[in-house]
């Protein structure tokens, strides 16, 4: 690249005056050598412009293009809303329960009675979010109301969905008054009173009003405990506002909530008969299920749907990880250790794979031990059945007589197992044990489930927002943003329904919100990119970027240096 000799000819005037000196020493030599002509200002600026324009192209065109073409798409998410929902700032669930009071026309001062009862009730209530509001039923009841209402529990109220409980005031002449009766298969509380217990116009308190208030409070005490536990567990922000639960209640609720299956609109129930030998190889499961389980499942129909399948599995051996049963002389039975119960289900060999289709599978395993190893019991407490949290239940069917195990199990033999399975299913679904009325328990379950769905959807949203912020390298497709929008919309609607006391509607919306939140959080295309960090991007392009960057950077540095030097000289 050296310019030809002739090029420096015009530079002669600037040459050293003593060019003939021999270059004996290098320091001297440099002084004595011919000097290049001074660079014109124009060429200096041309060079600077060239470097600057290269840098401009790189910075304004190259880098943005590279950045744009290798960037990953991240849809915009309403992060603030999502975090607010997770922190419980947007929706404070309230549970205004409407309680219809049906008073016979004789009660003139029904309004006043309701007012006083409401006062008494408000005084009793410590849990502000859960509020019982008494209203007067519109329809005047015929005289023989008690008989009719038992036949048709929904006759008294217009839209029964919104009414949590009906209180019927029935005047009686005989018996202890006031007394109450909660109907087991209808959301109705019958209160019997004697006419003289009606509060008079002047008094502010009456024994009837206090009695009704206490009864109502008692009925909903369990639900209040559950809801307040749920609220305190779900977010720390709420905890201080609610009444403190006693330690035992909290522990009990904690225990129950760990068992309960995650909510799903459909559950698959699988009933399996396991036996280590070849008998029994058949069971009369169809009529047994029809008699003992179908009524229970029908009552759950408003909350979830169920599908049922059954199977018989012979030669089902214990898993090798647990100890074989030992004979216990005191119990006169073969015993399993309590710590081995978790390994009782031989997951590797027993075909308990989940059913195909949406929704979780709940397994109920009936184990018929070998003739030589029966009866088989749990060592510590002599029990023959146990519940596996969030999975299902196991029951051991020990033969009642010493006769050989029959080839087919009759329906009668399955009765204890079916009852066990029903109880296990109730526990797994989280149905509370009190109060005595089944519709009330179911509506409690609706409220608890809806609230817990709202909380879990909100916390999923919060987690998604955190992931979005903390992992800038994961792609976020538009479908996630859409799901998040849907979730937010349905959460808001669920919250509104709650405020209006329409709990069934709240459950519907909470259900959709939860499903959409899960869908957004577990979007598959968000995961792949995590394993392809930004470093890789640079590494692939380094063979190009390196050699190109070196002359650019060096030229820029040199020019800046010389620029500074020129400035200093001035």
């Amino acid at each position: 690249m050296a310019p030809p000799e002739g090029a420096d000819a015009p530079a002669a005037p600037k040459a050293d005056p003593k060019p003939s000196d021999p270059p004996s020493e290098s320091i001297v030599a440099s002084r004595t050598n011919k000097q290049p002509p001074a660079e014109t200002l124009e060429s200096l600026w041309v060079r600077r412009w060239v470097i600057l324009s290269f840098w401009a192209v790189v910075a304004c065109l190259g880098l943005p293009m590279w950045w744009k073409t290798t960037a990953i798409y991240r849809a915009d998410l309403p992060l603030q809303d999502m975090t607010d929902w997770a922190d419980g700032k947007i929706c404070r669930p309230v549970f205004p329960l409407r309680i219809a009071v049906e008073a016979s026309p004789q009660v003139q001062d029904a309004h006043r009675l309701i007012r006083t009862t409401q006062h008494a009730l408000d005084d009793l209530n410590e849990f502000s979010a859960h509020h019982l509001r008494l209203i007067l039923a519109d329809l005047p009841l015929p005289a023989n109301a008690s008989q009719q209402a038992i036949i048709d529990g929904t006759s008294s109220t217009g839209d029964d969905q919104d009414i949590a409980l009906s209180v019927r005031l029935i005047p009686v002449e005989t018996g202890e008054t006031p007394r109450s009766h909660l109907q087991p298969y209808a959301p109705t509380l019958d209160v019997y009173y004697s006419p003289n217990q009606i509060p008079s116009a002047s008094s502010t308190a009456s024994p009837l009003a206090t009695f009704v208030a206490h009864e109502l409070h008692k009925i909903f005490a369990d639900e209040q405990a559950r809801l307040s536990y749920l609220l305190s567990a779900s977010s720390s922000g709420h905890a201080t506002k609610w009444k403190a639960l006693s330690a035992e209640t909290a522990a009990e609720l904690q225990r129950q909530s760990t068992r309960v299956l995650k909510y799903a609109p459909t559950y698959h129930l699988t009933f399996s008969l396991f036996t280590p030998t070849s008998v029994p190889s058949a069971w009369d499961i169809e009529p047994a299920l029809r008699q003992y389980l179908t009524p229970l499942l029908e009552s759950f129909a408003t909350i979830s749907n169920f599908t049922i399948d059954t199977q018989v599995q012979l030669y089902a051996t214990f898993s090798p990880s647990i100890r074989q049963p030992e004979y216990d002389e005191d119990l006169k039975a073969w015993t399993l250790r309590k710590e081995d119960l978790s390994g009782f289900i031989n997951a590797a060999e027993w075909p308990l794979s989940p059913s195909i289709g949406e929704g979780p599978t709940v397994n109920f395993a009936l184990y018929v031990p070998e003739q030589s190893q029966s009866p088989l019991l749990v060592k510590e407490n002599g029990a023959s059945s146990w519940l596996v949290p969030q999975w299902g239940g196991v029951a051991i069917l020990n033969p009642t007589s010493s006769a050989a195990i029959p080839k087919a199990l009759a329906k009668e033999a399955l009765v204890p197992a079916m009852q066990t399975f029903s109880n296990q299913l109730i526990s797994l679904l989280g149905l509370p044990q009190t109060p005595a009325s089944l519709p009330l328990r179911l509506s409690t379950l609706t409220r608890v489930r809806a609230a817990s769905l709202i909380f879990s959807a909100s916390s999923t949203l919060g987690a998604l927002a955190q992931v979005y912020q903390k992992m800038p390298s994961i792609p976020v497709p538009d479908s996630v943003a859409k799901s998040v929008d849907l979730t937010l919309g349905h959460l808001q609607q669920a919250c509104d329904h709650f405020r209006d006391g329409r709990f069934q509607g709240a459950l519907e919306h909470a259900r959709i919100a939860e499903a959409q939140a899960e869908k957004a959080f577990f979007e598959r295309s968000m995961v792949g990119q995590v394993y392809f960090p930004d470093e890789h991007k640079v590494a692939v392009y380094l063979p190009l970027l390196g050699p190109v960057a070196v002359p650019l950077v060096m030229a820029a540095l040199k020019e800046i240096k010389s620029g500074i030097a020129t400035l200093r000289r001035r």
């Binding site: 070849s278 008998v279 190889s281 399948d309 012979l314 030669y315 195909i356 190109v548």
Partner: protein, 584 residues
């Protein structure tokens, strides 16, 4: 689900009398030439259709039934095979080819759907679910590996409305069938390999056999008398064991020569001497025991077959009547002889081991082995990376003309030229192809589907050839071991006449799969391209950039500016050192 339960229950009372559930199993042993033994296991379970609808499973495996229901599959046939059936020496296939698959995995099913798209989406559901159930790569059966045969398959079951049933057929010739497929196969059986003839099935021996095939067939069966329907599942395993090889104990599997004193020598050989010995071919049937051959004992009968009466005979052996057979068991068993004493069947004891012992015996009589109606062989001809040709040789040894359907489903990257298709019979001048059904391939979307109905005259050979072109795949489409070649599935041949089978199963044979070498690129190429291109670009850029920004001065003026860079620094240091040294 719950709402229609009562209706179903009513049906149950009506139907439970007629539609029966039962289970049946049978093992047929048949010695073949060259001291091999064919073992055909067959397991059949019926479940009444009402029980299936209510999802109460007793004999039918629950997971399998749920897959069928989910994918709306009415009839299903699944095959896992390894090895080649040597028809020349072994004769007719054990089930006339109806239960034996081509090498690899083969699946065909009748799926209920309104239209083809729906049928295909259900087919994908089916293959994905089965893939999980059988631990096989069935999920790789996609549109390119699926064909819809027209003439080759007929439903075996009784279907009430066959108008919206769609037949789909998929093939994975490359799939290696292994123990992990046998374990789920055994789990589907009610006795699970713990009792009954399935207790003989051991992965080590099964996959060491010269030929083995596992089949699962599900079909609805209706009784024509009372109209009761049931879903029948048939599982079968057929294996050809080399007796000498199977008898080797597992802890000492390498065959070793006997001491020379223990070998009987062929003294007729000229080189026979004290120290040289040619082992005498005794022409005897070798001795074997069940326990020895299968490596584990037969653990009695599966108790579920007890109720079957005569059908409860679950072990049969097909030998000449003179063959000596000893039974070794502690339990109660019974023996029955049928078919001129050539078939001996045993009712196995429950809960006691059972063993058959056959001593070494010189035979004077033998059994007549049925010969197959057709022999078929197929191969790839030609060389080079671009084109090739396929030749199928189909031989008819019988005295009747045989009509058959030839089904070829080729991968899309193997593109046949249909105009080069030639079917030629030596003794015949007219074209033996009577009917052609052809669906050309679409790149990356579907494979070629070619079905030919042909007639081959008595005692003649048909040669079918066609040329094809090999496509060049995209870089990412190559499998991990691309240089091994690509497999083309076996051709399926269905014999239409003159042999009509009575039970709708049909008579089939399958050729071996083809190994097709495709041009493979150098897989490190993209990285080389990146590096090379980058270097060239960087060189060009550097030159232009330097030309633009460098200041050019005369050679003799360089030192005046002071050399820059490392060289300048070094020169300066060196100069200073020299000056120091000079002073000192």
């Amino acid at each position: 689900m719950l709402s229609f339960l009562p209706v179903l229950l009513l049906n149950a009372f009506l139907a439970c009398v007629c539609a029966s559930s039962d289970y049946h199993e049978r093992l047929l042993l048949r010695p073949l030439p060259q001291s091999t033994l064919l073992a055909s296991f067959n397991f059949r379970s019926n479940e009444s259709s009402t029980a299936i609808e209510q999802q109460n499973f007793r004999y039918f495996p629950r997971s399998f039934a749920q897959i069928l229901e989910h994918a709306h599959t009415k009839e299903l046939h699944l095959r896992f095979s390894v090895g080649r059936w040597d028809a020349e020496s072994w004769g007719q296939r054990p089930w006339y080819g109806a239960r034996e698959g081509g090498t690899g995995v083969e699946l065909w099913a009748w799926i209920e759907a309104q239209n083809e798209e729906e049928a295909f989406s259900r087919w994908l559901t089916l293959v994905n679910s089965l893939s999980g159930l059988f631990c096989a790569s069935l999920n790789f059966i996609d549109a390119t590996k699926t064909v819809r045969p027209v003439m080759s398959f007929d439903p075996e079951g009784d279907h009430t409305n066959s108008s919206n049933l769609h037949l789909l057929h998929g093939n994975l010739p490359h799939e290696v069938v292994c123990t992990e497929n046998l374990t789920p196969f055994l789990k589907l059986l009610p006795c699970k390999g713990k009792a009954g003839i399935s207790s003989l099935l051991d992965g080590h021996k099964l996959f060491d056999a010269s030929f083995q095939t596992m089949a699962v067939d599900v079909r609805p069966v209706c009784d024509s008398n009372d109209g009761g329907c049931s879903l029948q599942m048939e599982q079968s395993v057929d294996m050809v064991l080399d007796i000498a090889r199977s008898k080797r104990p597992r802890d000492n599997p390498i065959p070793r020569a006997l001491p020379i004193g223990e070998i009987e020598c062929d003294t007729s050989k000229p080189y026979d001497a004290e120290d040289t010995c040619y082992p005498l071919d005794k022409k005897v049937e070798p001795a074997w025991k069940l326990t020895e051959l299968f490596g584990r004992p037969l653990k009695g009968a599966c108790p579920l077959t007890e109720e079957m009466g005569d059908e409860g005979e679950s072990l049969c052996i097909n030998t000449p009547p003179e063959r000596e057979i000893q039974v070794n068991t502690t339990g109660q068993y019974s023996e029955a002889r049928t078919a001129l004493d050539t078939l001996r069947c045993y009712k196995l004891p429950v809960g006691a081991d059972f063993d058959l012992v056959l001593p070494e015996q010189k035979m004077t009589t033998g059994l007549v082995r049925a010969q197959p109606q057709l022999f078929a062989a197929r191969s790839v001809n030609g060389h080079g990376q671009e084109r090739g040709s396929v030749q199928a040789v189909i031989r008819n040894p019988s005295k009747d003309a045989v009509e058959f359907v030839y089904l070829e489903s080729l991968p899309w990257f193997m593109k046949p030229y249909l105009h080069t298709l030639r079917a030629h019979v030596d003794s015949l001048t007219e074209n033996p192809v009577k009917e052609t059904y052809y669906r050309p391939a679409v790149d990356r979307q579907r494979g070629t589907h070619l079905e030919l109905r042909m007639i081959i005259p008595a005692a003649s050979t048909l040669i079918l050839t066609y040329d094809f072109e090999k496509a060049i795949l995209r870089y990412t489409e190559y499998p991990p071991d691309a240089n091994r070649g690509f497999d083309a599935p076996p051709a399926v041949i269905r014999i239409l006449s003159p042999y009509l089978s009575t039970d709708k199963k049909g008579i089939y044979l399958r050729t071996t799969p083809l190994l097709l070498p495709l041009p493979t690129p150098d897989f490190s190429m993209p990285y080389n391209v990146i590096i090379l291109t980058s270097t060239v670009m960087a060189l060009g850029f550097g030159n232009i950039f330097n030309l633009l920004v460098r200041r050019f001065v005369g050679m003799d003026e360089v030192s005046a500016l002071g050399a820059g860079g490392i060289k300048g620094i070094l020169a300066a240091k060196l100069g200073r050192l020299k000056a120091l040294l000079g002073k000192a």
